[in-house]
């Protein structure tokens, strides 16, 4: 009996130790990024310089992530809108009408998409873009272009946003599906009773029940999209100057990927500063999603 008692204590302690081992890197990472990142931002010219200026070349003393921050915010916003616009109705379909054969096949498709490597999503958008860009420009060149429309180059912010949207779609779809599937039966019947058209029942009445879960999912998906690097490698490509969104566009995550592998001290410093900025963006969205719930 004493042996069993001891074994019990030992086993539970082992589980707790494993859990601590799994969470410890998270704390280590956050502390590491913020401590080194704050020092780096101070050294590279203070917060405003860091947030507004282009990044340092190997011979500079100061610099920041200005252009990349703009690119990240623009592409994440566009990607999140597009991802939600596709993911939400898809999720409603899977959740509301999950019985029929087509919906089950669709669910399998979404499951394939959620497991799809993000770098492959980037390749897909690259392939589509390289097919369509010349034809697209024939129409776009007639419009006044400037920063936003203009003739597109092979790599541009819109390709990046499309890749981020594809990454986000399955998250939103699956979360929406489980939110709609968990609506209780009496509530659903009541909704259909007062809803009139089916559309009103599903989108207006049931919306009140599932909106929180769906918004949380959308925010978490946005946070995920804001930090993605791999799908942007061949779609936005990265840029270190303020440039129009029709050409190669920088992103904070792309700059971290590039600068962390560079041999120059000042660029590694800026990678840590950029990491602190990116982590702040993601944490803010994440906490927003948690508080909302």
């Amino acid at each position: 009996m004493r042996l069993r008692r001891a074994l019990d204590k030992l086993g539970m302690a082992l589980f707790v130790a494993l859990a601590a081992l799994a969470v410890a890197p998270l704390f280590w990472l956050i502390v590491d990024v913020y401590v080194k990142g704050a020092a780096a931002i101070a050294k590279l010219g203070g917060l405003w310089t860091f947030l507004l200026c282009p990044p340092p070349t190997p011979f500079d003393k100061e610099g920041g992530v200005g252009p990349m921050l703009v690119g990240t915010l623009y592409m994440t916003a566009l990607g999140a809108l597009a991802g939600f616009a596709v993911g939400f109705p898809l999720g409603v379909y899977i959740g509301e009408m999950g019985r029929e054969r087509l919906a089950q096949v669709t669910r399998a498709g979404v499951n394939i998409l959620v497991e799809f490597p993000t770098v492959a999503v980037g390749l897909f958008v690259y392939a589509v873009m390289s097919l369509a860009v010349d034809d697209l420009n024939r129409y776009l060149s007639k419009l006044p272009g400037g920063w936003f429309l203009g003739p597109l180059e092979g790599f541009n912010a819109y390709a990046g946003a499309a890749a981020l949207a594809i990454v986000m779609i399955p998250y939103v779809a699956l979360a929406t599906a489980s939110a709609y599937a968990s609506v209780e039966r009496p509530l659903r019947e009541a909704a259909y009773g007062v809803g009139g058209r089916e559309f009103n029942a599903v989108f207006i009445v049931l919306r009140k029940v599932v909106s929180r879960a769906v918004l949380t999912a959308a925010l978490i998906g946005t946070a995920k999209a804001a930090g993605e690097t791999a799908p942007l490698l061949f779609t936005a490509f990265g840029n270190t100057y303020y440039g129009p969104f029709t050409g190669p566009t920088g992103a904070v995550s792309l700059w971290i990927w590039y600068a962390a592998q560079s041999p120059y001290e000042v660029q590694i410093l800026s990678a840590y500063g950029a990491a602190a900025v990116l982590l702040t963006i993601v944490l803010v969205i994440f906490i927003l999603a948690r508080v909302w719930r």
């Binding site: 394939i112 490597p117 492959a120």
Partner: protein, 307 residues
């Protein structure tokens, strides 16, 4: 080609949205489902089309050769396939116990008021940008692992901090929360009578936990396979620490190597300069997609069989 892309991607979306908003909701939603399926099919078709040149020239030899010589237009992705399998195996064997530990700790050990906080922390691990893990892997984890391995196996056992082992351990840290979330979901759904029955037999807490884990083994397997899929597809963090040795098979766990996704990330910028390299990289992506789908199917089969 624009017409084709618009016809396949944009118009169906707009038509589905129109039907959903103004005609009949059910048909609009069905159209959305069809749209998603067409998009996924287009994705796979696109990979096949872009990989076709090299598949036509070399057949399946591109997957079984370890040569990578762009000057002679010879490409083989076998080292990358091996690297993907090795790093994900390392990641899963480390992540499995950690994920179970996290699930058990959250549901059994922590006081109920702390549970949501701890669970959010684990979810945050999954949301964290992967490039930050790469940064951490280069400057914190890599040097640590190198000195640890060299202290145990003698100096020189791990010549560089960039190795398959580093990538595997980093992946383990990254994929644990995915597995933990699924296992926890199942753990919380164990029926109360099962738990009470086990306790009434005089079982200790550990024994109860083990019985419960066995009861939810399909969730455990599902979580592990989800994490495995993530580990195989992960790109930038792995590419930053794996070493990038792509011309020959890795000599061991402590040697540098490459995975398919990091091969694509590292080599794609050069690929436009060569005739067949883009095709070879798309062939790699195709192999990765097939592996991923196979894993999904295996997971579904196992879960169905145990239900």
């Amino acid at each position: 080609m624009l017409g084709f892309v618009l016809a396949v991607l944009v118009f169906p979306y707009l038509a589905a949205a129109f039907a959903l908003l103004f005609l009949k909701m059910r048909w609009g939603l069905r159209a959305f489902g069809v749209f998603a399926l067409v998009a996924v099919a287009l994705l796979i078709a696109m990979f096949l089309a872009y990989a076709y040149p090299i598949l036509e020239r070399e057949g399946l030899a591109v997957f079984t050769s370890a040569v990578w010589d762009p000057a002679r237009e010879e490409y083989g992705v076998l080292p990358a396939l091996v690297g993907t399998l090795v790093t994900s195996a390392v990641a899963i064997s480390l992540a499995f116990p950690m994920a179970v530990g996290v699930a058990v700790t959250i549901n059994e050990v922590l006081p109920p008021r702390l549970r949501p906080l701890f669970a959010s922390l684990v979810d945050l691990t999954a949301t964290m940008p992967t490039v930050l893990y790469g940064l951490w892997g280069i400057f914190a984890l890599g040097p640590l692992l190198q000195s640890a391995v060299n202290a145990v196996f003698g100096p020189g056992a791990m010549p560089s901090q960039y190795s398959l082992l580093t990538a595997g351990v980093l992946l383990a840290v990254m994929v644990t929360p995915y597995a933990a979330a699924v296992i926890r979901e199942g753990y919380a759904a164990v029926p109360r009578p099962v738990e009470e029955a086990v306790y009434s037999l005089g079982a200790t807490r550990l024994e109860t936990v083990l019985v419960k884990l066995r009861h939810i083994r399909n969730y455990v397997v599902g979580g592990i396979f989800l994490a495995l899929g993530r580990a195989m597809g992960e790109t930038v963090a792995v590419a930053m620490v794996v070493g990038g040795k792509l011309g020959s098979l890795p000599a061991g766990l402590f040697d540098g190597g490459i995975t398919i996704s990091s091969l694509i990330a590292l080599q794609f910028p050069n690929a436009a300069a060569y005739k067949y390299m883009t095709a070879a990289l798309f062939a790699g992506a195709l192999a990765l997609a097939v592996l991923g789908i196979a894993i999904n199917a295996a997971a579904l089969y196992l879960i169905r069989r145990w239900q």
